[in-house]
């Protein structure tokens, strides 16, 4: 349990759009004895981009597949645009989906893949061709319109898949880890392209990922999931700065966990009392831990300091130091231009401002 509770932040970006509002209400889904979704609920505003973020097995893909209509729920409701669609077949839900694995139809060219959904909607050949051309132009692949999937790179295939999903003008766009099979450079490019397209078209979008960088950089709001439940739904900045649970704090960003003891007005950290927000007495259990972000930890050279540098990693603009102090290891980021002052074994003093300290129950087994 954390001192700060920040369950849901309203979307800052809910533009008037053609996107449909989505409500996932108390979804429960079992696979044998495993509970993939355990009363999962989420409200998504029209035109909003929400990322479902969490570790493997947290239920994020199941939630997306339930929304798409590929999985049924044991309990709960899926409401799109005010109408319950829980029992509506996937092909009648009007949702475009981009999959993790390359899902283009191998027997069709890029253009035919994009036009497939339009053909099913009985559009005339000339209209289909024109619309497919427009969408391929939109994703920057018009020169490859006649190519077959095996002639396209992974990134190009996913862009065609995106164009294909958008062609049917879906009420909701579902993205199931569409970037995970791509190399880092292509992933970054496609990430920007997806985000700018989504903003341009103002389409309600649900994006599943286990990559926090993707989720934080693309989404209006991020829903962090664990054990089939929403741990926290918030804007990326709120999620990072004010995680509501220890799980969120540790899953999003990098944190060091340091043992602390209760003090009268706060907690005892690195030998001094640090005041914290909220009431330390409200945290159950005896022993407490503090979670510290590396960028919030300040390090100074001090020949008599209680800590010493145990590891140095160059990260580009910053350098990450690992400091052994009082039996714990604390990560601290310093500017790389200042990193020359530190070597392995350098004695240091560590400090952190009170507003940056998150206090939680001690993890069992420590």
């Amino acid at each position: 349990m954390m001192l700060e509770t920040h369950q849901t932040t309203p979307s800052p970006l809910a533009p008037p759009s053609s996107g449909a509002p989505v409500v996932l209400d108390g979804l429960v889904r079992h696979f044998g004895s495993t509970k993939a979704l355990d009363g999962f609920s989420l409200d998504i505003a029209p035109g909003e981009f929400v990322a479902l973020l969490g570790p493997s097995g947290c239920g994020k893909t199941t939630a997306l597949r339930v929304l798409a209509g590929f999985e049924h729920v044991d309990a709960g409701r899926v409401i799109v645009d005010g109408a319950e669609v829980s029992s509506v077949a996937a092909q009648r839900r009007d949702m475009g989906m981009v999959f993790q694995s390359y899902s283009l139809f191998p027997n069709m060219s890029a253009r035919d893949n994009v036009a497939f959904g339009l053909q099913l909607r009985h559009q005339r050949a000339s209209q289909r061709r024109a619309r497919a051309g427009e969408l391929l132009e939109l994703v920057g692949l018009s020169v490859h319109a006649g190519k077959y999937p095996h002639q396209l790179s992974g990134g190009q295939q996913q862009r065609v898949a995106l164009a294909r999903a958008l062609a049917i003008e879906p009420r909701v766009l579902l993205l199931d880890e569409p970037l995970s099979a791509l190399d880092a450079k292509v992933r970054a490019e496609l990430r920007d392209q997806i985000r700018s397209l989504q903003q341009r078209l103002a389409i309600t979008t649900v994006f599943v990922t286990h990559d926090q960088e993707e989720a934080l950089s693309m989404a209006d709001r991020v829903c962090v999931m664990s054990h089939g439940r929403a741990e926290q739904v918030a804007t990326p900045s709120a999620l990072y700065a004010q995680p509501s649970t220890a799980f969120v704090a540790e899953f999003v960003g990098v944190s060091s966990r340091v043992q602390v003891t209760r003090a009268r007005d706060g907690v005892e950290l690195f030998g001094r009392t640090v005041r914290i927000r909220g009431d330390v007495a409200s945290i159950p259990g005896g022993a407490l831990d503090a979670l510290l972000r590396p960028e919030d930890v300040e390090v100074r050279n001090a020949p008599d300091g209680p800590g010493f540098v145990t590891h140095i990693s160059f990260l580009g603009a910053t350098t990450r130091l690992e400091i052994g102090i009082g039996g714990a290891t604390v990560k601290a980021d310093v500017r790389s231009s200042d990193a020359d002052a530190f070597e392995l074994g350098t004695r240091v003093v560590v400090s952190v401002s009170a507003r940056d300290v998150l206090v939680t129950e001690r993890r069992p087994g420590r």
Partner: protein, 281 residues
């Protein structure tokens, strides 16, 4: 520096040559010997039959057995019956097996092993048991129809058809393709017809080739069920004129081979057309 490297390179390469090519040569010889033995195993009987079919009763070379083929009684009817059975069996087999195998792969993957065992049974069960069982279980109207043989042939073709389709489906990301199609608005039939069947074209054609070859060459079932298909006619007629009968067998072999080549080339030309179309666009 460059010349030194070149000298070293040449110096080390030349003496190595006999050692490096020796084993390769042995492998090539071994491969050639196996090919020769396998070729002889298949070609000698065919050559012997061809030689026999081009002889008169005195053992002299003659085209008379070939010339006599069109006038043989019952041959046309036997050929037509075999052709009809091949068509009906192929259509029935594909209609039954394609959706079934797709369904098992998609919805009941745990049953794949059971399917493999079940589809191998027609090879294990003796033909006499199979035909007697089918005859016993069939209604009278079906027993009197030659198309009952098609039902038996569907069972006989199962091991080959299942394996062809299984290999084709294993090469596809079936679940993702089906879900992509459904998310775009396609129902099950549309997904089957527009997405899965075109992507299984090679597997389906290969299954068709095997089914057609099986039906055109099958003797035991047709003979036990008293229908005169091409193979049955050839065996029956061999008691009257062995030279003409063998000539028909040879022609039947060539016709079957041409038909199968045609089916395979259909697949190749389709692939080539697709490639050309993509190059042009």
């Amino acid at each position: 520096m460059a010349s030194v490297v070149a000298d070293n390179f040449l110096g080390s390469e030349t003496p190595m040559a006999p050692f490096s090519t020796g084993p390769r040569r042995r492998i090539r010889w071994g491969r050639g010997l196996i090919m020769l033995l396998a070729g002889a195993y298949f070609l000698i009987p065919i050559y012997a039959a061809l030689h026999f079919s081009l002889q008169d009763n005195n053992g002299n070379f003659s085209l008379a057995p070939i010339r006599a083929i069109p006038s043989q009684p019952g041959l046309g009817a036997a050929f037509w019956l075999s052709a009809r059975l091949a068509i009906v069996t192929t259509v029935l087999t594909m209609a039954l097996m394609v959706p079934t195998v797709i369904y098992v792969h998609l919805k009941l993957p745990r049953l794949k092993r059971a399917m493999e065992v079940i589809t191998i049974l027609p090879i294990v069960i003796p033909p006499i048991v199979l035909i007697l069982g089918v005859l016993h279980a069939s209604p009278l109207w079906l027993k009197s129809s030659p198309y009952m043989l098609s039902l038996v042939y569907v069972i006989l073709a199962m091991p080959f058809v299942y394996r062809s389709l299984d290999a084709g489906l294993n090469a596809l990301d079936l679940k993702t393709l089906v879900e992509a199609s459904r998310s775009l608005g396609a129902g099950w039939l549309s997904t089957l017809w527009r997405v899965l069947v075109p992507n299984l074209r090679s597997a389906i054609l290969s299954a068709t080739v095997l089914t057609v070859a099986l039906v055109l060459g099958e003797f035991t079932m047709a003979s036990l069920d008293l229908w005169e298909t091409m193979p049955v006619w050839i065996v029956n007629f061999s008691q009257t004129n062995a030279h003409v009968s063998t000539a028909v067998a040879m022609l039947s072999l060539i016709a079957t081979w041409l038909l199968l080549t045609l089916i395979v080339s259909l697949d190749r030309s389709q692939s080539r057309r697709s490639r050309r179309r993509s190059r042009l666009t």
